[in-house]
Amino acid sequence: MNFFIRLLVDFAYYLNSSVGYQRKRRLFYNILENDDYKYKKYFDVFMMILIFSSVSILIYEVKRDAHDYFQVFNNYIISLIFFIEYILRLWISSSVSKTIINQNEYSDLLGRKFNLAYVIKRVISDKLNYILSVKAIIDLLAIMPFFHELRLLRIFILFRVFKLFRYAKSFQTFSTVLATKKFEFFTLSMFAAIVIFVASVLVYVMEANNPNSPIDTLYEAFYWSIVTISTVGYGDVVAVSPEGQFVAVVVILSGISVLAFTTSLFVSAFTEKLEDIKESKVIQDISKMQRIYIICGYEEIAKEVAKKLIRADFNILVLDDSLERIEMAKKDGFMALQYNPGSVDSYKKLHIDMTTQVKAILCLREDDVENVYAALTIRSINKDIYILSLLMNRSNKNKLLHSGVNEILYDKEFVGLIAKEYIGQPVAFEAIHTLRSEHSTVKMDEILVTERIANSITYVKDLDNISYRIVLLGIHKRSSGRFYFNPINDTILEVGDYLLVIGNHMFIKEYIKYLSKKVRA
């Protein structure tokens, strides 16, 4: 026995440390259960297609003879795929090896004997928990058509439709929302069940012996109760005696209240969860985006920045802990979440990779304390991400720098500099301002020297910018990190350099095309 236990424990450790086994397990977990896994949606769509094909074949078969291929496809191939899926889900639902290892470590720690019975009980209990879950039962029923010789089991194909709940996110949301009112729905169901039961028995007692009444059996009485309480009232089965009609009145009144209560339960469940649903939608959308700009705080400057970034087709997300400001951001058409920018949890909940998906974080609260706090939080999560922050009071500049902000913008100083430049060079200032304005057709732009450009153009003299009516202000060299104004003709262009140009935006576009197309003579 000890040898067997040792073998079992060793095998569990082997599986737990096996890279190949764990990789496969993780792959199946991602495909079947992980909504953030990018390939899961393809699997979900594939399964949905199988479900719809299966139901379509069932409908087709009602009046016509389906080809044998369809029968084989429906009864064997689809069922087999569903069976494999069921087994895989059962496998990943709990880890047997981990249960064994945990028990072994527990026994070692307390100096007790390894309890195999407990492990077996635990493993069975874990697996049974899964097998008896609603989703697993539906999965199992969906495999039943495999035994197509049992004609009745064919109807289980319809259970495949219920499997859609697994693959369509909106169904899951629907059931999650309704689950929040589980108790209310249960109470309502109990009330309806009691009314139906009492009404069925009463009407049966009062009508069954009446030769004029269509209600002869308890089943007919039950059918009548359901049709009446639902306020549908087909009229095929009716109570004819005054006592039966009195019962009908009570059932109809109860039916109205049951319907009204049910409707209000649906409405309140969705109203209460509406914000959560919207929030998960925003998180879902954000998690798929790249080059995201997160704006922390939504006050006056942040509003303007958000508007300008959206106009430039940037992906932005606004975070603010104030409900009022978040509502304002949503009203202005931005993706916004009422999350505290100073909380690590806020960024975890976003399900995004800060390094690859986030381009920059802008701390734009008009409050230095909040900006310092947010910057420190962000820096504690990610050391490299670019953070830009507003500074409201010069005395807090060092604090912001210490909190890890890359760039600080102190609006008061900026205004002072503008005033100085304006009074010194008003015409030049206005001219440059016009060139930089969003509405000007003339733009200042930076053109990245790509490998293609560098391969075809070696020297500045070959740039030919004047033909495109473009002023070459200078070159920013990647190698030195410096800007070279009005570079000499023999300056060599290298990949990663930037050409700083001024020109009509249409001509700049054409010029970029020209640079990229040009082939070395």
């Binding site: 920059a360 913008l409 205004v415 002072g416 009074i423 001219a431 104004f485």
Partner: protein, 237 residues
């Protein structure tokens, strides 16, 4: 209007007022900050600036007695928007030719300030937001321009008034290779009517260089000086 004045009068005892004062201190003989009812705050005391009190009544006698308003520029930087607009309209109604630069938070009050008679309005929120988006969209050009415009860089942007148009011998601005011939770049030309046009715009392309044109020139200080000697003078108006 002549921009280079002797006095700079800054209305607004706040960080904006002090930052303006600090930056323009070297440009004026006299820089004064006027305090309305602002409480004393911990402002940058490294600079020595005269501080006086004022109120929003229409009594400007003390101001007239102390300063030559013809030779003054005024900055209205009160943090209370309504008071700032009121101050601007008061100054404009009292002094028709006074050059008033007004600060404001948003575009709505910027329009009101223009209507109140401000000669130049700096919308703080809009300008700051513009700067932030530029830093994100075009970081390199923003940095270069910031250095040229606002920092003590060797590169300068100057406006040069043409007084010697004969030098160009009837050429159009776009036909001249400025960088090769003069070591500077002419990015825009301001015509007599005050409108600025990009050097390669269609209008400038057909505009013969005349005396009175103002060229917006980017270049190293020495090159710009050489250029000024050839064609005119640094325009400070």
């Amino acid at each position: 209007m002549k921009m280079k004045k002797t006095n700079a009068l800054i209305f607004g005892y706040n960080e904006y007022g002090f930052e303006i004062a600090k930056n323009i201190l070297d440009e004026y003989n006299n820089v004064t900050i006027f305090k309305l009812d602002e409480v004393d705050i911990n402002l940058n005391k490294q600079i020595d600036i005269k501080i006086e009190n004022f109120d929003l009544s229409d009594d400007w006698n003390s101001l007239i007695n102390e300063y030559d308003l013809e030779d003054s520029i005024v900055f209205c930087s009160l943090e209370d928007v309504a008071k700032n607009i009121f101050l601007t309209i008061s100054l404009r109604s009292a002094f028709k030719d006074l050059f008033i630069v007004a600060l404001t938070d948003n575009n709505e009050s910027a329009n009101k300030l223009r209507m109140a008679g401000a000669s130049k309005v700096i919308p703080i929120v809009e300008t700051t937001a513009h700067m932030i988006t530029d830093m994100l969209k075009k970081p390199i050009i923003t940095k270069v321009l910031h250095d040229i415009l606002y920092e003590d860089s060797d590169l300068k942007i100057e406006q040069v008034k043409i007084l010697n148009a004969k030098f160009f011998n009837g050429k159009y601005p776009a036909d001249i290779e400025w960088s090769r011939d003069h070591g500077v770049l002419v990015v825009a030309v301001t015509h007599e009517d005050g409108s600025s046009e990009f050097i390669y715009s269609t209008k400038t392309k057909h505009h013969l260089i005349k005396n009175g044109d103002i060229f917006i020139v980017v270049g190293y200080e020495a090159d710009i000086k050489e250029f000024e000697k050839l064609v005119g003078v640094k325009n400070e108006n």
